[in-house]
């Protein structure tokens, strides 16, 4: 996978673009209602978020969660029902979209079909009434960075999807925006290209240090690109955190389930320790595992176990047939090549186990039984709230 954006090209040409002070964006109590009827849920409900200068933050969630509405309010394409948007401390909620120092990359790229690549990229600069010489310099520069120099005079329809994407990006970047907004820009690309573009965008953003807000419903994108992820559901923020945080320590069952794959096992909370761990009875054993602060003794909680954290072993269990304690029965087997996955039935609930680098002989058969063990340091105990 060869990157079109090379490390060596960036420092030279990006000097001009990189010398913007990264901006801080703060959302306070941001809300959006499309209907005045109180029984109808708000699209966005009281969002508070502080985005660090130069940060790449992703708004992630299923469709209808409010991520796009939030982005559009930041861009100015939607009016706020309530709240404030502060750019470096100044509330810009009343500013019309064309005055905000932000650029947006659209899902459909929204390239002007009647203009060449060069004209597309220089469009915004011409509106600023810069000198023709300076415009040419900036445009040539960004085209070089994005490896589009040879295509400058082509029409958008003559470009491939990936090239169009890069033109859209170039057009946004050349404006030296204080904030860069991305509205699901990779959704229309095929899988391989998507992966490549993720990498390129992230690389570029890191080099240029522009504060960026990325909206997607694809958790892989969120995980691989972001400094922090904002997981949203039904207009509210479920959790804000670094990818590892969100993966390992999800704030709710929704987040746990949305990111990565999750197994939930019923667990009885026996004891809560002060250090962020708790002991719970699960799979016929008492495990001490990291726990969500809201976990309470006596409750039935849910133990989150990722498939890769499940350990299976045969041996003494072969004789025993019953599913009890830590004994589980294999219901289904799927061989992926690099991994094999088992669906296992246990006392505490069914779970998926993912075993890496399997050897053919070791693959468990259907209806066979195995001991199921959980890597306690990888598990996470959540209060049982749907």
């Amino acid at each position: 996978m060869v990157s079109s954006v090379t490390d060596t090209t960036i420092p030279a040409a990006a000097a001009g673009i990189a010398d913007i002070d990264a901006a801080r964006l703060t959302l306070r109590g941001l809300s959006k209602r499309y209907s005045t009827d109180p029984s109808v849920a708000a699209a966005v409900e009281s969002i508070d978020l502080d985005i660090e200068p130069g940060e790449f933050i992703t708004l992630l969630g299923p469709s209808g969660c409010g991520k796009t509405s939030t982005l559009r309010m930041i861009a100015g394409f939607e009016t706020l029902t309530d709240g404030a948007i502060e750019l470096d401390g100044v509330d810009i909620a009343g500013m019309p979209p064309n005055r905000r120092p932000m650029s947006m990359v659209f899902q459909s790229y929204a390239l002007f079909p009647h203009l060449s690549v060069r004209d597309n990229v220089s469009y915004g600069l011409k509106l600023k009434r810069m000198s023709a010489r300076r415009i040419a310099e900036d445009v040539d520069g960004i085209l070089a960075i994005m490896n589009l120099s040879g295509l400058a005079d082509r029409a958008p329809h003559q470009l491939s999807g990936g090239q169009q994407q890069r033109v859209a990006l170039a057009r946004a970047l050349v404006m030296r925006p204080k904030v860069l907004l991305f509205d699901e820009p990779l959704s229309n690309l095929d899988a391989k290209l998507r992966v490549q573009m993720r990498h390129e965008i992230r690389l570029l953003q890191r080099r240029l240090g522009i504060t960026s807000i990325f909206v997607t419903h694809d958790q892989d994108e969120a995980m691989t690109m972001s400094d922090r992820i904002v997981v949203m559901s039904k207009g509210r923020i479920e959790q804000v955190g670094a990818p590892s945080e969100v993966y390992r320590r999800p704030a709710s069952m929704f987040v746990a389930d949305f990111i990565g794959r999750a197994n939930f096992l019923d667990a009885d909370v026996e004891e809560v320790h002060g250090d962020g761990t708790a002991t719970a009875a699960v799979l016929g054993d008492s495990l001490r595992v990291p726990a969500h602060p809201d976990v309470v003794v006596g409750d039935t909680a849910q133990l989150l176990v990722r498939p890769e954290s499940v350990r299976l072993s045969t041996g003494a269990a072969e004789r025993s047939d019953r599913v009890t304690g830590d004994v589980g029965r294999v219901l289904n087997t799927v061989f992926y090549g690099s991994t094999v996955e088992y669906e296992i039935e246990t006392d505490s609930g069914n779970l998926i186990a993912s075993v890496a680098d399997p050897v053919a002989d070791d693959v468990l058969e259907l209806q066979s039984v195995a001991h199921v063990r959980v890597e306690s340091s990888r598990a996470w105990l959540l209060p049982d709230r749907s």
């Binding site: 394409f77 019309p96 064309n98 929204a110 002007f112 079909p113 509106l127 958008p156 329809h157």
Partner: protein
């Protein structure tokens, strides 16, 4: 109203499907607010004022007599009934003819498609009376075809003749509509049905036709309105078959009762508006064509003789009739007394080109050239506001713009006469001088230009709406996010993308402007001569030869202007566009 045109925005092909978006832009964008204010003011002047004055006149004492008499006076009821029947028949026949042509053009395999397309559209540029007088000459009691050739004694005056003439004149509208829809049908639907076992006939009746239903309904309604609104043809060809438009005309010119004329006009507006509203509601709800607007392929052309032969035969027959009629129009100007004394002469053309004729040509052309681009721009602006900028009020604005078409010509003319022959006053203060008639500024030409604009606005607006709807709103947003104000976006991005629709809009606008008659009759002035009212005078006096000569010239001028405008737009103004 789905007055769609050839899928012009091929530019949109490069973009993925449109997502539904609500774009708010008016509140905080002052340039857009100004545009809205200007557009509203213009529409108030063009339509609001005359219509309100008309309504006031209609509900004055003399007007009320008509309304109350509606249910007691059987003559009035008969007139209303006649009008409805005429509209119904024209709607059905016109849609049928248009459908046949569209179906043949899009679905059947044969050579000469380009020719058929042009022939189907010929009636668009035809002046009023042309077809009616040609019909009398050809198919009347002593018509060349019916009497001389076939020895028949046909009475072409009345309902039959009217339906024929109006169908001939308006079927291009249905044709364009249905052609566009047929072209946009996704053939994968047909393929899916076929895959499931449906025969071609079954596919046609259970898949194709239902998908076309909005287009068919739209065409029918549009033709209904055009049919009942027409004045020129019922005057010449109606015979004893009186309809509301002629009744209004007679009220004004025969009985000197403008108020009664206004009342009849209101009766005429009511069905027209109802039909319009129903149609808007209906087509607004359904989203039948595929989301992208661009199908994934082309349907296979039908070669089966069982279908080709009858359809093509019918189409050919109609083409022959059309050609005959229009040839008569052109040739008639060269005959001494067309149909009776077929001696070749240049007298008629001499009459038309000298003196009044040449002044009429000049005046009409100049005014059409002023009005058509204005209507084009106004239509595009309104379309832009409606599709992109206005939320709740979009529907209202769209509707008002279309009133120029919904309101029958006679009605408009009377409204203009009532409103603009005298100064406009509010609370005793004169805000506008008379704009029509001999005492007005610019010789009363202003009112005529205004009428031209009003009549020409709807096609441009519809073309604009159709074109804009195909463009992804994200493009507007991209422009905004790069720093452009609403007006700049319109100028630099939207307009270039819809310039093809713009060209079509202006073309139609010009054709309409130069061939409009019914509103003009009430606005003629000494300083300005209009070709269509000259034609009326000649027809009235029975000098068909002169009338045909005028018609031939009118058509020539219209075609020349259309060609010129198209050339100008493509080569000069939108030069250098990257097009497919």
């Amino acid at each position: 109203m789905t007055l769609t045109l050839d899928p012009t925005s091929t530019a949109a092909q490069a973009l993925p499907p449109t997502t539904k978006r609500r774009v708010r832009g008016v509140g905080r964008d002052p340039s857009v607010a100004i545009i809205v204010a200007v557009v509203v003011a213009v529409l108030l002047l063009l339509l609001g004022l005359p219509m309100s004055k008309l309504v006031m006149a209609a509900f004055s004492d003399e007007g009320l007599v008509v309304f109350t008499g509606l249910f007691t006076n059987p003559a009035n009821l008969r007139v209303v009934g006649n009008t409805m029947l005429l509209g119904l028949l024209v709607g059905v026949c016109g849609t049928l003819v248009g459908f046949l042509f569209a179906f043949a053009q899009v679905r059947l395999k044969f050579r000469g498609k380009r020719l058929l397309h042009l022939l189907a559209l010929v009636p668009v540029v035809a002046p009023p009376f042309a077809v009616a007088t040609a019909t009398i000459t050809l198919f009347g009691r002593s018509g060349v075809v019916t009497s001389t050739l076939l020895g028949l004694n046909t009475d072409v005056y009345g309902l039959g003749g009217l339906v024929f003439v109006l169908t001939l004149s308006f079927s291009p509208v249905a044709y364009m509509n249905l052609k566009g829809m047929l072209e946009n049908l996704d053939p994968s639907l047909d393929e899916a049905a076929s895959d499931l076992g449906a025969s071609k006939a079954r596919i046609f009746f259970t898949v194709t036709l239902p998908m076309l239903a909005p287009g068919i309904a739209g065409s029918f309604l549009l033709l209904f309105v055009e049919g009942i609104a027409d004045l020129a043809n019922p005057l010449v060809l109606g015979g004893d078959y009186t309809v509301l438009s002629t009744r209004a005309y007679i009220a004004v010119t025969g009985e000197f009762n403008v108020q009664a004329g206004a009342a009849y006009s209101i009766l005429l507006i009511v069905p027209a508006l109802l039909v319009f509203l129903v149609q808007r509601y209906w087509t607004g709800k359904k989203q039948v064509t595929s989301v992208t607007g661009k199908p994934s392929g082309r349907a296979e052309l039908i070669t089966a003789p069982a279908l080709r032969i009858p359809v093509l035969a019918l189409v050919a027959a109609w083409v022959v009739v059309t050609i005959t009629v229009y040839t008569t129009v052109v040739a008639g100007g060269f005959l001494k007394v067309p149909g009776v004394n077929n001696e070749f002469t240049l007298d008629h053309f001499r009459f038309v080109l000298a003196g009044i004729g040449s002044k009429a040509m000049l005046d009409t052309t100049v005014m059409a050239l002023i009005a058509a681009p204005t209507a084009g721009v106004l239509g595009m602006l309104i379309a832009w506001l409606v599709v992109r900028k206005l939320g709740r009020f979009a529907g209202v604005l769209d509707f008002v713009g279309m009133l120029g078409l919904a309101v029958p010509g006679t009605v408009l003319g009377i409204g203009y006469a009532v409103a603009f022959l005298v100064p406009t006053e509010i609370f005793g203060f004169q805000i506008l001088p008379p704009l029509a008639g001999g005492a007005a500024a610019l010789g009363g030409g202003l009112a005529i230009v205004m009428v031209y604009i009003t009549r020409s606005l709807p096609p441009g607006q519809r073309a604009g709406v159709a074109a804009l709807a195909q463009i992804n709103p994200a493009i507007d947003e991209a422009s905004t996010s790069l720093g452009a104000s609403g007006a700049t976006t319109f100028r630099k991005v939207t307009l270039p993308l819809i310039h093809s629709a713009f060209a079509t809009g202006i073309t139609l606008a010009t054709a309409r402007a130069m061939t409009t008659l019914s509103p003009i009759v009430f606005l003629t002035t000494p300083g300005i001569k209009i070709m269509t009212s000259q034609i009326l005078a000649e027809v009235d006096a029975g000098r068909f030869g002169n009338a045909f000569a005028y018609c031939a010239l009118l058509v020539t001028i219209v075609l020349a202007i259309i060609g010129l405008i198209n050339l100008l737009l493509r080569k000069v103004i939108f030069r250098g566009l990257l097009r497919h």
